[in-house]
């Protein structure tokens, strides 16, 4: 995996995944009701429709269908929802990294951070994207083993001695436009 663009994509997936998980898990037991699609204002319904389509739920009737909880919760501020959704969609859209790889990253990070929402949601997404049980087990294995290595390294306070073996990407910043 050389090329900094791939690593930027991965970092944005990890970051925004954590952002969704924080809201979903942190507010799961709080007295804050999600916005219901059937009673949402038009601009929220428009965003909900885009969310359903992105997650393969576009065949559900207008106004119907479940919206992933972090989106439904932040929909109390329609403009905020629209911006967060735009960032999520951009992060997970297939570019240098595939959608399934990005979803695997999101699943691994959710599992690592013990996010009940994120783990279940991205596991469902992995399966929807065609990843079989062996593939899911591969990601669980990587997550588990590196959760071991990292704690061993931390306990012994080891310094990284492998970061420099990767080639350096000397290319410039790509112009992705302002849209």
């Amino acid at each position: 995996m050389t090329g900094d663009d791939r690593w930027y994509e991965a970092a944005f997936v990890v970051g925004i995944t954590n952002a969704l998980n924080v809201v979903a898990d942190g507010l799961a037991g709080a007295a804050m009701r999600p916005v219901e699609p059937t009673t949402a204002p038009p601009e929220v319904r428009e965003t909900f429709t885009a969310i359903r389509a992105f997650y393969g739920r576009g065949d559900q009737p207008p106004g119907g269908g479940e919206i992933p909880s972090p989106f439904a919760i932040i929909a109390h501020d329609p403009a905020y929802l629209a911006d967060v959704w735009a960032a999520v969609k951009r992060a997970f859209t297939e570019r240098r990294l595939t959608r399934r790889h990005k979803t695997a990253l999101a699943f691994a990070v959710s599992l690592t951070t013990r996010s009940a929402f994120g783990t279940a949601f991205h596991l469902g997404e992995l399966r929807r994207l065609g990843v079989g049980e062996p593939g899911v087990m591969e990601i669980i294995g990587v997550t588990q083993m590196f959760s071991s290595y990292t704690k061993i390294a931390d306990t012994l306070q080891l310094h990284s001695d492998m970061a420099d073996i990767a080639p350096v990407d000397r290319s410039g910043v790509p112009d992705s436009g302002t849209g």
Binding site: A104, E138, G141, T143, Y149
Partner: protein, 84 residues
């Protein structure tokens, strides 16, 4: 400063040094000294051996490539706030 004194490869018994060759093959890189984690694992081959095999089995190409899995591993390390 590490909690322990990491021994040079030459200080390890011959049986443990076999793990260093496996490490060199895995990373496909000639380290001056084996990576710190490899030296930690070689301290107790009865732990490091099966742990390393489990890691290699998890990292082997399957539905996801080795490269994709290395990135997942990096993300997991980041989520664990581990700089190693």
């Amino acid at each position: 400063m590490p909690t322990v004194r990491l021994r040079d490869a030459s200080e390890y018994p011959e049986s443990a040094r076999r793990l260093f060759e496996l490490s060199r093959q895995w990373f496909d890189y000639d380290f001056k000294e084996p990576p710190a984690m490899s030296r930690v694992m070689a301290w107790d081959p009865h732990f490091g051996g099966p742990h390393g095999r489990a890691m290699k089995r998890a990292m082997a190409p399957g539905e996801f490539s080795r490269g994709e899995k290395e990135m997942v591993a990096a993300a997991v390390s980041g989520a664990n706030a581990c700089t190693y």
